[in-house]
Assembly symmetry: C2
Homo-oligomer: 323 residues x 2
């Protein structure tokens, strides 16, 4: 047997898009994205990138995880806290303390629960209200600009079959979101980064963060703050050994993965600043991409699904290569 899902996988791994061998072949989603014109790609500001450097792996290989922070109107108070924590170099010397299979990898102060040993937080962090798990619904005028509700892509994802968790879903400025007539909110898709918290009404400061490394735990939407998504290096979290304690916490201190530093990219030397761009979710290329994700017609497939879960339509993100 050969490479299972040849075309499927090409679609998912934009880093190495395969070109259609025959012009008559129907392109895969990955090929559509790779062929999108430069104008359809949007550069991500380095000031919106959080760069986490983990200690090198057992073979001495560097491990860098790049997180894109969310734009307004989502979670901006937690994100302001995160910027303060990064500026204070607060995470340096902390660790990844928990990896639970098909769920999350979580990092922060391993002694956060022990008052006597906990690392003091910087001053000036905001205590955020639970109301901020969602944002006011955007007006229809703004929605036209941001989400093109009448677009084919939106229709495909909001078809009669719908979404199990929300009345409407769609992409806003590059992010998968859900909304109803009053509120809108970001989604717990694979790679989403959120803010650990205690029981309500605690909402977390942003010092304790997690990344989704399994099937989208959408039941957490609107119950916990999302602040970003991993756009590079998620394998350094998702392939870590699973913790054997309850909730996937590591049992031994030696199991924890040391965090060397977490910085906003603009604080790094220019040559080390990561440069990424995403496929504009308002572009025609994205409409075609989303359509192809929902209706695979490329050669491997014999039966298009006729729809797609919004978390199964990952927004294409790629490194901007030096010219």
């Amino acid at each position: 047997m050969k490479h299972l899902l040849l075309t499927v996988v090409t679609a998912a791994s934009l880093a190495v898009p395969a070109l259609a061998k025959d012009a008559a072949e129907i392109p895969s989603p990955g090929e559509i994205a790779a062929a999108a014109p430069a104008k359809d790609w949007v550069a991500i500001a380095p000031s919106d990138l959080l760069v986490m450097q983990l200690a090198p792996d057992t073979k001495g290989k560097a491990r860098r995880v790049v997180i894109q922070l969310m734009p307004a109107p989502f979670s901006q108070e937690w994100i302001a806290n995160i910027r303060k924590l990064a500026a204070a170099h607060w995470w340096d010397g902390t660790s990844v303390n928990r990896v639970q299979d098909n769920y999350v990898a979580q990092w922060g102060d391993p002694h956060g629960e022990e008052a006597a040993k906990a690392k003091p937080l910087p001053t000036g962090l905001t205590v955020v209200s639970e109301d901020a798990y969602t944002a006011p619904a955007i007006t229809s005028a703004i929605r036209v600009i941001h989400a093109r509700p009448g677009s084919k892509a939106m229709q495909l994802l909001q078809q009669r079959r719908g979404d199990a968790y929300a009345e409407f879903t769609g992409f806003i400025a590059g992010w998968p979101t859900a909304y109803d007539t009053e509120r809108q909110w970001p989604l717990h898709c694979y790679g989403a980064v959120g803010v650990g918290r205690n029981m309500s009404p605690d909402t977390g400061s942003g010092a304790e963060l997690y990344a989704v490394i399994g099937h989208a735990p959408r039941h957490l939407d609107r119950n916990i703050a999302l602040v970003g998504r991993v756009i590079s290096g998620i394998e350094h979290l998702s392939s870590l050994p699973r913790g054997t304690e309850a909730l996937g916490f590591y049992k031994e201190e030696a199991e924890r993965v040391p965090i060397t530093s977490i910085r906003i990219a603009t604080e790094l030397p220019s040559a080390e600043q990561p440069k990424f761009e995403y496929l504009s979710t308002e572009s025609d290329s994205f409409v075609r991409y989303a359509d192809a994700r929902a209706n695979r017609r490329d050669p491997f497939f014999i039966r298009p699904a006729g729809g797609a879960d919004i978390c199964n339509v990952p927004v294409p993100v790629r490194a901007i290569l030096a010219k």
Copy 2:
């Protein structure tokens, strides 16, 4: 910050169910399953378990993956092939050759593509038709027994919001499935095990298998054969280093993870046979569990979702402890 999602995670990890501290507390899904009476649990026949022993990890720790094979009417011709391959000890000495992040881990003959080096398959394997990716829809009389279509659990998962990929979804004899008026089929949820294939009309023999280790790739439903699910040890696949070649294939032979053996459990010495049971999807306990997955009311949550993606309602499976 404390343990993010304390109760959520308890729900997901049935191995260590937390008991509600206060009788007045609303139980989590995991607590509901853990409290289910013995009569609601169904033992899995050892003859339906495929036991994969990987080479020990770098610390010398054993790695065992247990796969439950699907019941009729799903994929039985491929499963017959798999039983023949296991009986022939065909997989012994093969390897895990591909691990692609948020997608699949795949194993079999690393030289399967090179005619001169490929390991010969046992004789007598069936070439299966693409029609067998789905099965005839069960009659309403049978469905009443198997899936309780009028049950609360079914309604919860088939509510107005629906499923992005299929007209109807529900649980049949312990398995997440979808169906329409003519056909029914199994789903690519986390942990699902499928049969690698080449381009249509090839359907794969069963010698090349993969397990889903990321967000459910439901676009593969009805396009490829599913034969089972990992019920224990998936972390030995999901936490493997990701391959760096296209499609997540390992570049170097040394990166491949050797498979010591794959056996149907009944071929193992009695003391080594794994014993598992699943929560009957026809039980009242499961109805309550599915309801709680779709509407989290336990203390961590402030807002129940009002629905759940069927792949986010994993059927509880647990080891049967010796008495």
